[in-house]
Symmetry: C2
């Protein structure tokens, strides 16, 4: 039953090719702060002119990208979320941090429009020049609303509800 022992036959090697590139001109240091409002272009490679047909039918898309500026030497199995030492040390896969086993980025972006082979999107938190490796539709089957997340997640997003005796409970 061990899949490795069963030696599944792979028809392709695990290697990626860029299908496009992120362009927004924002310096790297500005991206974390501006991420939710940032408008980016994805400049598609000419080879994918037909493959993007129909993206305009969606309001939201997943963009998968290769975080080409991550240094593999910075990988650590456990991290403090956002580098904040007041938040508990947790497995890197339990965070959206950059220094992961494979430096793959994933963003849900808003579709804004298209000019030829340049796609315009909002909320893509990738650095200028990042290789894009896949674009997928975001559809109603991707929506789950009754979520559980760790306490530290609310300490980042709703700081007023925590600490220093301010009281209050985390937002749902």
């Amino acid at each position: 039953m061990d899949p490795i022992a069963r030696k599944p036959i792979a028809l392709n090697p695990i290697a990626l090719k860029p299908i496009g590139w992120v362009r927004h001109g924002v310096p790297e240091a500005g991206v974390p702060r501006l991420r939710s409002e940032m408008v980016s272009e994805i400049v598609m490679e000419d080879a994918y002119a037909e493959a993007i047909a129909g993206l305009e039918g969606y309001s939201h898309l997943f963009v998968l990208f290769w975080m080409h500026r991550c240094d593999p030497a910075r990988y650590r199995p456990m991290v403090h979320p956002r580098g904040r030492e007041d938040l508990p040390l947790t497995g890197v896969l339990s965070t959206r941090g950059r220094n992961r086993p494979n430096p793959l980025g994933l963003a849900v972006v808003e579709w804004l429009g298209r000019a030829g082979h340049c796609l315009q999107v909002r909320r893509l938190d990738a650095y200028d020049g990042t290789p894009v490796i896949d674009i997928k539709p975001y559809d109603p089957y991707d929506v789950f609303t009754d979520l559980r997340v760790p306490d530290w997640w609310y300490r980042i997003t709703h700081p007023a509800g925590y600490g220093f005796g301010i009281g209050g409970t985390p937002a749902p």
Copy 2:
């Protein structure tokens, strides 16, 4: 301003390593039909024993996987969704189909539990033996509810609302 002309400095090559493997024992032909109910294990590589700490804090996770059974020769820039010729030909990136430029799979899965280095999840629509390349938390920032999707999407999911004079409007 062209990111290619600016030659961004990449710190890593675009190559992936499996961090775990999918195990469920369901034959490939059964996966599309059973996908929403299927329970899978992700058997993590020993090297990531610490990296998975804290996943139990989430109700839902993204799983990124390498579709090792896709044959690159089957890539087509435009496809009929689900192979159904009654649905319009559309760019492959506008579908969740398998024969994409890079055969990366993405699923939102429900966390069920963990036994040592085996994670138990529901709704992972990957074949038995598939290499897993990333796991990321799904959090409230990934939830968008006012979605637009193409008409053909509703023709797949709400067939009773279409054609043959049955009438009705697609569900929101």
